[in-house]
Symmetry: C2
Subunit: 461 residues, 2 copies
């Protein structure tokens, strides 16, 4: 872009936002040049901090006029380079739009601005006996979670981000402010825009308000840890528990390598063997019956030890340790960057998938751990990489490809919850076949000048 036009659009931005909410400060630009992944950073030309949908709409009009990219930004916790502005342009930071607008307890709904984090939302909801279910490891913003269709440990019971979005206010590329849904629990009226915009990774519009489904805090919550000799036995136990119709709220695999990291980082003394972290939600009688049944099934599947975490303190510690796992791994590898694979398979293929990943990990000489939301058939291999070591990066990419190709050959997906960003672009054609053309046609219809997070999910040229 010519220097002159950059000056002009910055001037225009400063006119519509107050000048202190349009930044070209180097530290600010640097903060918005990266996410939590191994993907190469790249600076935006400017960062704006809008406080309303109307302001976002005006920013969008300027971007359309000057044909410059718009990249929405929550907290930068994405894992596939989603928020990295590889084509420069304007990064729209939603941190000033962080108001919880209203809680509707009877309707089990809450209306929020996109910059609200899930932990802030849950603090507020607790006062009403409610909680928001989706919990990726990071304390991400709800706008970002909707953009990537995030999920996490509880989706086996409560569903993924897309299942929680009842309505969104969205600003389109041409500045139109529109709504994607309504407040009713279901609707057959017109096309499902909620579903289309959730998971669109900033490529179809910017979210400026979300109405989300919330749940009552269950009467009783009990968590536990089940230890196994092998990962295969642990996964077999998961399949048995699900087949028995036991309603687990969480069922997470943490392998031996990962448990060791947890113990170091979180100060726990968990047995360092392949482990399932489980949680049950329900009324007291039902939960106790489910727990007893689950214990029998675990024992039948060669579970060597089962430990309850009955009090809320050790339960919280368990899930905090699980959520902090990625940070634990990062801390243990200073100077390195994280690559997390993210395939999701039909549950019947999960054990084979993980076994194949373990073999490939050894073959490619990549030390790392495997964790997963195994109730959904979703697992992650966590690798810490030296991004300057080209040969190592090549091996890691080959390993990731191996995992993805295995998953796709079994009817799975290259990304269960992290999204495509730039990291999974190369698998889109293999995964979607000719439906990829349809996705591109939809993108072109909604963003004809390709200003919205260009070069993410797929290239339009």
């Amino acid at each position: 872009m010519k220097r002159g036009s950059r000056v002009s659009y910055l001037e225009e931005l400063k006119k519509i936002l107050s000048p202190e909410r349009v930044s070209t400060n180097e530290v600010i630009l640097d903060q918005h040049s990266k996410d939590e992944s191994y993907h190469r950073p790249s600076l935006p030309d400017a960062v704006v901090f809008p406080i309303s949908a109307e302001e976002v709409s005006k920013v969008m009009n300027i971007a359309e006029k000057f044909k410059i990219p718009i990249v929405p930004f929550g907290l930068g916790t994405s894992l596939e380079g989603h928020v990295i502005p590889y084509n420069g342009g304007i990064t729209v930071d939603f941190s000033l739009m962080d108001t919880i607008i209203e809680v509707f307890p009877t309707d089990f709904l809450v209306k929020v601005q996109p910059g609200v984090t899930r932990s802030k939302l849950n603090q507020e909801l607790k006062k009403h006996g409610l909680f928001f279910s989706v919990d990726p490891g990071a304390d991400a913003t709800l706008g970002g979670m909707a953009a990537t269709n995030a999920s996490g440990t509880t989706s086996v019971r409560y569903g993924i981000m897309r299942d929680q979005v009842r309505d969104m206010e969205v600003v389109l590329a041409d500045g139109t402010i529109m709504h994607t849904g309504n407040l009713a629990a279901k609707s057959s009226s017109g096309y499902n825009l909620n579903g289309l915009f959730v998971g669109s990774e900033g490529t179809l519009g910017c979210f400026t308000e979300l109405t989300l489904r919330v749940y009552g805090i269950p009467e009783l919550i009990v968590a536990g840890r089940a230890s196994f000799e092998t990962v295969g036995q642990a996964v077999d136990a998961v399949v048995s528990i699900l087949s028995a119709g036991i309603q687990v709220a969480r069922i997470e695999l943490v392998d031996q390598q990962s448990i060791a990291q947890v113990n170091v980082y979180s100060g726990t003394d968990y047995l360092e063997v392949p482990t399932l972290f489980l949680e049950f939600h329900g009324n007291e009688a039902g939960l106790m019956q489910d727990m007893e049944f689950a214990k029998e099934i675990l024992a039948d599947n060669k579970c060597s030890e089962f430990k309850f975490e009955k009090d809320s303190q050790s339960r919280n510690q368990l899930w905090e340790a699980r959520h902090n796992l990625a940070y634990a791994v990062m801390r243990a590898h200073p100077g390195k960057k994280m690559m997390v694979t993210d395939v999701c398979l039909p549950i019947s293929e999960l054990a084979n998938g993980i076994e194949s990943a373990k073999e490939a990990m050894a073959r490619y000489e990549l030390p790392g751990g495997i964790v997963g939301h195994v109730g959904d058939g979703n697992y992650h291999a966590l690798l810490m990489l030296d991004v300057n070591d080209e040969e190592e990066m090549k091996r890691a990419e080959s390993f990731n490809s191996h995992i993805v190709e295995f998953a796709l050959s079994k009817g799975g997906t290259c990304t269960g919850e992290h999204g495509v960003g730039i990291g999974k672009m190369k698998y889109q054609s293999l995964e979607h076949g000719n439906s990829l053309h349809i996705m591109k046609a939809l993108k072109k219809t909604l963003d004809p000048h390709n200003i919205l997070n260009p070069g993410k999910i797929f290239n339009m040229n």
Copy 2:
């Protein structure tokens, strides 16, 4: 259309399908001229009976070439004129594509052709200890249920049709055969095409295969009937039960007028007062605790009588009676046609909505009953109308408008589960505002010549 071109495309159809699967027989055309609603019938020019996606693709190519409408047809149980070919053209009847392709018990999935009915599917699934949850009153085809995003009595617990669709094979307007999803329990890869095509009412493509989520038959199922003096009390009880976090599997309102029809048609002797039909699914201990709690709440909400239906025979009778209600009402009004309203409201507005509907029903002098999937905030007023009585039809339309406008003013939707068809087209602009333009743009992208079920959901001119 000129007679000559009709002869030509019929010849082409007969070449690609065998001639006996291309019909212009008057009885066949008449069968495909209507649905179960009050909407005016209209004949197609021809009905074809394909047996594969490839054949549907070839039919689509002919339709594109001659610019003639394509209307997909399951069993004709739609309630808003969806399958009525107002612009003539080719009706694609899927009754020969009725194979249950494969059940995947471990993955809780089943792959079916679109002409399979929900009752046929459930017969097969029972052998595996599984069931398919979505149950509109009619024994509709699964293709049709996906087209309208159907739901029914169990969505309060298991979700709507869109929640069950994991993948579909779809034939687009240009004959492309593509897939909308995969077999994994969740995915963040690319745009959500499953969600977009479910509920598209034949306006974006024809479904030729569906992979659907199924559930394990619960350990215990108990049903019951709760009687109240007023509909308002019954609805208050529903709100209390949901707020208490009791996991009902079904919670249906049947008003006094409707219960009377049920008794006549189904030979039951249910108390003729506003009634809730309830069902609980779970493990034995949990279900018993939930039931006891529910009974307390019902009593607190002035429930005058609560009757269990413990054995499976009286339980089945209860739900059969509920499902046959629309037919009961039809039977009681020979020569008349049915109009069923279908709004869905935030649950906090449901009691007001129903009260307002009851008042309007009296004001417009329209006798009828009210039933509803009240756990979702969805209710129906069932009216039997003399379609030749213009004045009565006008009053009925005004009544429907009153109900819809009330629902929309409270953040609800004009159709919770029946779909738009032609009956709800006039409310699309009021409900969707400027997002209606986006829906039309998506339609134009996927069906540029407007051959797919034209004149449904919205007009493209």
